[in-house]
């Protein structure tokens, strides 16, 4: 019989389809896992509503539950429960190590407007474009190490 703990462990191995250095658990999009006999109810929140990776994530969750012998029931919850503050500390560090500036906590980001380069740590960076390769990223440039980098948007 599958347990909620096994399901969480398995979900921690599913990479984000667009930023595969972090898992869906690191990303904070899994809101709850509820196991009743073989039925596994999962509530999951999208990052950005127009994110094309949404369907891919949902299918990956369902597939993982089936691999563990459970019957998946994955519900997409479009409420306001996800923000970048839901990304775990481990997830932020993995992002930074891969060259994505992790999103600062929302309150701090909105007040300080300081953005740190993920390569050299300099805060002397400029915004190149509010939008980037996916809805969740901006493009910035570091004047310290002269490296452009992707900034995960704080939302």
């Amino acid at each position: 019989m599958v347990t909620a703990e096994q399901v969480w462990q398995r979900f921690a191995e599913i990479p984000d389809p667009e930023i595969p250095v972090i898992s869906l658990v690191d990303l904070g999009v899994i809101r709850s896992v509820d196991v009743q006999d073989s039925r596994v109810r999962v509530e999951f929140t999208p990052t950005f509503l127009g994110c094309p990776a949404l369907e891919v994530m949902k299918r990956a969750l369902e597939e993982s539950v089936r691999e563990l012998g459970g019957e998946p029931d994955v519900a997409v919850v479009n409420d306001d429960s996800w923000g970048t503050d839901k990304i775990t500390a481990a997830g932020r560090e993995k992002l930074r190590a891969a060259g994505f500036a992790p999103p600062a906590p929302r309150l701090i980001q909105l007040q300080s407007a300081v953005h740190r380069c993920p390569y050299c740590g300099s805060t002397d960076t400029t915004l190149e474009n509010i939008f980037g390769p996916t809805p969740c990223r901006s493009i910035r440039y570091c004047n310290g190490c002269r490296q452009p980098f992707e900034q995960f948007k704080t939302i």
Binding site: F48, L49, N78, D80, N129, F131
Partner: protein, 211 residues
């Protein structure tokens, strides 16, 4: 005589208008993909379009079990979008004027919905970045005669995005007086044109096709 609409029916009608606005402006924004005046704007308009259409989908899903049917299977006259979003590919001054006016109006509308609708709060988080983009361009272009003329020309259309009760707030933000609006419920020729393109694949697909 028909009974007056209940609050729930009024809310659903308002949400359908919002979703149709987001779908159509998203479609219009996407027309800049590949041809914007600079690469950054190609990316920005494509990304904004993706978000807006994502918002439309999420609201359609609230209103119906079949979001695609609601988005693409209605006749043009059944859409509830404001005429502002229908206007065809405009020059850059008009495009930015429309984006800015739309975002200012949309912020007023979404803020009012946030208390009662959790989805509106989620949409609002994403719209923050659309507003930054619109405000950046507004700051850059506001001194030019082309932009000022475009704002004035589109102003009656922008008023039509909001119900009468919210128009004073828009007027205060934009700095133009409330005038007669181009109202929701009427349509421009732009809608038929974009509807034709937007629904073409679905209309030409064989019956029973799976999406």
């Amino acid at each position: 005589m028909a009974a007056p609409p209940t609050r729930q029916q009024q809310l659903e009608r308002e949400l359908l208008g919002l979703a149709d606005d987001e779908l159509i402006i998203g479609w219009r924004d996407s027309e800049w993909t590949g041809i914007a005046p600079m690469l950054e704007e190609d990316v920005a308009f494509s990304s904004i379009a993706q978000n807006e259409i994502g918002h439309a989908r999420a609201v359609y899903e609230l209103l119906s079990d079949d979001a695609d049917a609601l988005a693409f299977d209605r006749a043009p006259e059944e859409y509830r979008c404001a005429p502002l979003v229908e206007l065809p590919l405009l020059d850059w001054a008009h495009t930015i004027a429309r984006r800015w006016l739309y975002e200012v109006a949309d912020e007023i509308r979404i803020s009012a919905l946030k208390e009662t609708l959790p989805l509106a709060a989620k949409i609002d988080r994403e719209e923050t970045y659309h507003r930054l983009h619109a405000e950046m361009w507004h700051a850059r272009l506001q001194g030019t005669p082309q932009f000022r003329a475009a704002v004035e020309e589109l102003w009656p259309y922008a008023l039509g995005v909001l119900p009468a009760a919210q128009r004073d707030a828009l007027s205060a933000r934009v700095g133009l007086p409330v005038v007669e609006a181009v109202e929701r419920g009427t349509h421009t020729d732009g809608l038929a044109e974009i509807w034709d393109e937007m629904t073409m694949v679905r209309r030409s697909a064989p019956a029973g096709a799976q999406w």
